[in-house]
Amino acid sequence: MRGAKSAKWVAGAAVIALAATACGGSDSSDEGKKSTSGQPAGYVSIDVGEPQKPLMPADTNESNGSYVIQSLFTQLLDFDDKGEIVLTNAESVESEDSKTWTVKLKAGWKFHNGEAVTAQSYIDAWNWYANIENKQQNAFWFSDIAGYADVHPEKGAPKSKEMSGLKAVDDTTFTIELAEKVPYFNYKLGYATFAPLPKVFYDDPKAFGQKPIGNGPYTFEKWTHKKLIQVKAWDEYQGPNKAANKGIQFKNYSTVEAAYSDVISGNLDMIRQVGPRDLPKYKTDLGDGAIEQPYAAIQTLVPAFYNATFKDIDPKVLQGLSMGIDRDTITKTVLNNTRTPATSFTPPQVKGNQQLESDFLKYDPVKAKALIKEGGGVPENKFTIQYNADGGHKEWVTAVCESIRNATGVDCVGDAKPDFPTDLEARDNNQVKGMYRGGWVADYPVNVNFLKELYHSKAESNNGRFADKEIDELMAKGDKADSLEESVAAYQEVEKALVEKMPAIPLWYYRINGGHGKNVDNVKVDFHGDLELTGVTTK
């Protein structure tokens, strides 16, 4: 074998490879003059990444997937930016005793394939979602309904395929009977999980998850995995949130920085969250396009009440620690103004939020020290805060610890878990050594969502294992109420009692710091911090 010859061959192969890949090199120059480059005219684009799961309403609870689900499906009702109910597919949702609810649907609604949306579309879908055999992530959302245990038993196969609580009265009316009173049940119905399904779904749920057919403002167009999901405005949509644009492109970005640079250069219309690198300058870059708005979510420090440090701790100590945190300074400096200091256990956007006027949420080193001493101090005078290192929490956890140490002399260190799965596992298995960082975004805009789901002794998301009889009883009172107002008021009492028990230390409420480019207008934020896409217009 002659060397020179084969070296030539190798060089030749490289040239061929280059030429072959260069074939796609001609730039398509059909960019409209005004529209954002690379998308059909009238469409708007947003940096929503690949959904975690196939597109099924009851199997999606993360933000990427739910953006797409909400564009394709419309459930009975929705909320405006103030958290008030807006009826969408439902004509009315009413109950006299908060146990049996009657739903009347608006007539004439259709799925994208022309099938009518009937009471049965809802009942069948809910029964399917709740069935344990279908392994839907959000199945527990249906657990209020009578007969849930039959379709979703704790062990073994389901006894029935239908929940006894769901009954169709006629084509557009059905009743929901709950196992127990839930005065705020109609608010839960606003969660995207309660969307109806067309009949074709049951033929092949798997295929449906890749190419869903809904009843929402947009119809499904295409899904290029890990890159793009495209939906088109649906002319026949009759809801109040009819699309003002021609369609949406959900584009996947590997980093927020990459998405941001595309907004600046006009390749992307909207960004949901500006990354830390660009936060200091995004308002000058985007001008009117910069979005800064609070939404219904809270960050807390949750003591794990089973560990050596916080077992049988005097609430006074926790109140003292809370007073040792300089929320104002930390939100302004470390968090770049992306949070608002908390003044209660619930964010202002939810029904029943109240100003607690409690000193325990204000920074006061002198009182903090005194309270901790009064309560007997923290065992060994130190504790840890567990967080996941992949979520950008390190900076503020360090700052909070610093603040507590300076103010009270109690030593505090971060306990980093490499990523979210590891962090969750430690919480689930009661392995948190001190406190952990808690976060909660509203599922529905009522204070109950932030109190019962986190601090009831039997609540599934109560990972600190806080248990208090008095609180449970107060909550039971709120659940037995006949009207929403009574229930919300009862839960306000719960919140007041919680300050004395300190099941968690509220830190701050979230703010969305996003933005949009020059080609779009009317970008608004809903109560749980999502950009409202139907109202966005192109210029």
Partner: protein, 309 residues
């Protein structure tokens, strides 16, 4: 030669098995349950987690899982992602083409620019242009790729406006040039330095003097006599570099928003998608193995004294 290749190919099998087993065990040793992690801070009931685990065979002992994986692998089945429920083979084949293109671009750039710079400097060692090159490569070696990436992006996309900051959905070749250069810059610097040293050394070799004394044209002296001997260490480096280019582009891919293998593995690791990680790593192992075989074969081409029987 044929026997040598066959033997090398056979040796790949234990390496392949060993490396998949290792990655498999590592994934298993990581804390964090992929099924539970799907739900985030929300709650999922235990019965449902158990059902999902059974569906994906995650409730079986690790050795059983590994055997199942191997069994499926030999039938061409790489498994299914837990979250997206898509076949891993499909996920990988979505991500691979762009990474291969990027790697080829970067590789060609490394070879062409690196070797020519090295020769230019090495022919006149200790001269001003040699010093200049050493300085330049020092800068490239010491600069982290994310700094260089953002710098290039800022300069060409935002200041000069001659390029887009990110590659588009179906990237054209021109769009890939910028990320490829960033990706290649580090190995480019190494290649240039290796070539330079090796050329500078060989310039003083006896056979060079002989070749010049024979009155051979300068092109032939440098192109054949000098290059063949100087390229051996460079080729070794380039061989392993291909593997690195294929797998290690996470930072560059992130900056220019390229949906390649780097980001795929990174994401899959965070979500504990064992099947995806093992699948990609297995492929990378194969790439490494083939590259090192090619390097060994190229030695024989470059230095005829090396013969494989």
């Amino acid at each position: 030669m044929g026997r040598y290749v066959a033997r090398r190919l056979l040796q790949m099998i234990p390496v392949f098995l060993g490396s998949t087993l290792l990655v498999f065990l590592m994934m298993y040793a990581l804390p964090g349950d992929p099924v539970r992690a799907l739900a985030g801070e929300q709650h999922v009931d235990a019965s449902q987690i158990a059902a999902l685990k059974a569906q994906y065979g995650l409730d079986q002992p690790i050795w059983q899982q590994y055997l199942n994986y191997l069994g499926n692998l030999f039938q061409g089945d790489l498994g299914v992602q837990i979250g997206t429920q898509r076949p891993v083979a499909e996920v990988i084949s979505d991500a691979y083409p762009i990474t291969v293109r990027l790697a080829i671009f970067a590789f060609v750039f490394t070879v062409v620019a690196g070797i020519s710079l090295g020769i230019v400097a090495g022919l006149k060692a200790e001269s001003l242009r040699d010093r200049g090159l050493l300085g330049l490569t020092l800068v490239l070696i010491s600069m982290p790729s994310f700094v260089l990436g953002f710098l290039v992006q800022y300069l060409f996309a935002f200041q000069l406006g001659i390029a887009k900051p990110n590659v588009s959905l179906e990237p054209t070749s021109t769009e890939l040039i910028m990320p490829a250069i960033v990706l290649a810059s580090l190995s480019l610097a190494y290649v240039a330095r290796l070539t330079r040293t090796s050329v500078a050394e060989n310039m003083r070799a006896d056979y060079m003097r002989t070749a010049v004394a024979k009155g051979l044209p300068r092109r032939r002296v440098i192109g054949v006599h000098l290059m063949r001997n100087s390229l051996i260490p460079v080729v070794t480096f380039l061989g392993t570099d291909i593997g690195a280019l294929m797998g290690g582009a996470i930072v560059t891919e992130g900056i220019f928003n390229i949906k390649g293998v780097g980001s795929l593995v990174f994401e899959a690791l965070g979500k504990r998608e064992g099947a995806t990680v093992v699948g990609v790593v297995t492929l990378l192992v194969v790439v490494y193995l083939i590259c090192s075989l090619l390097v060994d074969l190229l030695y024989a081409v470059l230095d005829p004294r090396i013969r494989y029987a």
